[in-house]
């Protein structure tokens, strides 16, 4: 049972790690674009903002378990098959990046708008404002949002497990549910709880260490 759970845990960590990484690689530019093009933004553009916003809402309105299944053809195209850890990562990224884009947008909107105005007055361009002011000011909140995304992906990865995606969710369903091995089920739950606690603790400590507010 130990090897089984250990391998499943490693798979889950891989899904959460790469899932979060790629969701941020897609979500950060998208969230920045939302921030820039909103009505009060540095480069207001109704068409861009509302198109992106609608696309994000559309993906977010699909329950994740259904999204994974609907994405099977796409995952097969990208990683060659529709089951296993790599296939799950594709689905996790697609499910999470719209969520990340919204988190980024809201983190950036938390930056003092008068500070942004002040730096504009000093002659800062929108690019400089994003790189030298907004990202710097929003950093603690961005780090908190990485934790939030990882924890959301812990849940999502378990759902991916339900349809053959690998990881702890997969083990819990195959052994705990189908084979009535309650001990495996309970161990999976304990590991998941510990995982979430550790993620939150690490990121809280990190935020406190770098936040000067």
């Amino acid at each position: 049972m130990n090897t089984l759970l250990l391998n499943a845990l490693l798979d889950t960590l891989k899904m959460i790690g790469f899932g979060t990484l790629f969701a941020f690689i897609l979500g950060l530019p998208l969230g920045t674009l939302l921030f820039l093009t909103q009505d009060q933004g540095l480069k207001p553009n109704k068409v861009v903002y509302h198109s992106l916003s609608t696309l994000i809402n559309m993906i977010r309105s699909i329950p994740f378990i259904i999204l994974i299944i609907a994405l099977f053809p796409l995952t097969r195209l990208i990683v060659g098959r529709s089951f296993g850890v790599n296939a799950s990562i594709v689905a996790l990224v697609i499910g999470a990046f719209p969520f990340v884009a919204r988190l980024i947008e809201s983190s950036f909107n938390g930056v003092d708008p008068y500070l942004i105005k002040a730096t504009q007055t000093m002659g800062a361009t929108p690019t400089q404002i994003i790189l030298k002011v907004v990202l710097v000011e929003a950093l603690p909140s961005l780090i908190q949002n990485i934790a939030l995304t990882m924890i959301t992906l812990v849940g999502y990865s378990a759902m991916a497990g339900a349809v053959g995606g690998g990881g702890l969710g997969d083990v819990a369903i195959r052994y705990g549910l189908h084979r009535y091995q309650s001990d495996v089920m309970i161990m999976t739950i304990i590991i998941l709880i510990a995982l979430v606690q550790i993620i939150q603790l690490c990121f809280n400590t990190l935020t406190q260490a770098i936040d000067h507010r």
Partner: protein, 247 residues
């Protein structure tokens, strides 16, 4: 020399036009200390937006050393923008950067060697009397200290004109006095032109040589502070004075 030439700005909403700034002109000599006073709605905020180039005027020009800022673009504009330093009412520092990096911020907007920046930051910190706070973060500073950092940040580009927007209205009387003293010291040591926009006549009395009274978008009276405040000519000036003195 800093010149405002027939600056005008109006806003149109629902077919009605509001003239916020109406053909205002002023010539301010290098090293002068000038205050613009007006009550709420006089057009001070719009004037400030025009001076900080957040809004373009409908007509008029903004001239520093014979260069009209409003005709400039890109790098030339950025270079000339540095001739104007801004002190904001709410200071607005970057909370995640220390005092030194906040002050150096205007420099990071174009290329400059870090050695130069260090000595310049030391210099302006000295001017505002905060030499020991270079590595402190804004959340550890008092309101008055933050405003001093704001003044230092405005001075870092060695501006021709220091434009102060209600620099003390967020501060208590004691801190206000120390900030005004600080601005006075800065002026004595650098001979920077001070242009203070405020609703508070005490700030102008304490700091300025010359005052311009703004009302309904126009400059309605101007002159030496002592003369204008002792024998006000325009009804609006009298209103401001009597309101401030509680009569």
């Amino acid at each position: 020399m800093f010149k405002l030439e027939k600056l005008s700005k109006s806003f149109t909403q629902d077919k009605s036009t509001l003239v916020a700034v109406s053909s205002v002109s002023a010539t301010i000599q290098k090293g002068e200390k000038v205050g613009i006073i007006g009550l709420s709605g006089a057009g001070k905020s719009t004037l400030l937006k025009l001076l900080s180039m957040q809004e373009r005027p409908d007509s008029g020009s903004l001239v520093i050393d014979d260069v009209d800022l409003l005709t400039l673009k890109g790098k030339d504009l950025l270079r000339m923008r540095k001739r104007l330093g801004f002190v904001f009412q709410g200071v607005h520092l970057i909370s995640q950067k220390n005092v030194k990096d906040n002050i150096a911020f205007p420099f990071t907007l174009d290329k400059s060697t870090s050695k130069e920046i260090d000595s310049k930051v030391d210099h302006v910190l000295n001017l505002v009397g905060l030499s020991d706070k270079a590595l402190a973060y804004p959340n550890t500073l008092s309101g008055g200290q933050k405003q001093r950092v704001g003044i230092a940040r405005a001075l870092i580009t060695q501006p021709e004109v220091l434009l102060c927007d209600e620099p003390t209205s967020a501060l208590d009387p004691l801190t206000t006095a120390s900030i005004l003293q600080c601005l006075d010291n800065v002026h004595a040591q650098t001979n920077v032109t001070l242009l203070v926009i405020t609703h508070d006549m005490h700030v102008i009395k304490r700091l300025c040589d010359r005052v311009i009274v703004m009302h309904e978008g126009a400059f309605v009276e101007e002159g030496k502070v002592s003369e204008v405040f002792n024998s006000p000519q325009h009804p609006q000036t009298r209103l401001i004075l009597s309101a401030s003195e509680g009569r």
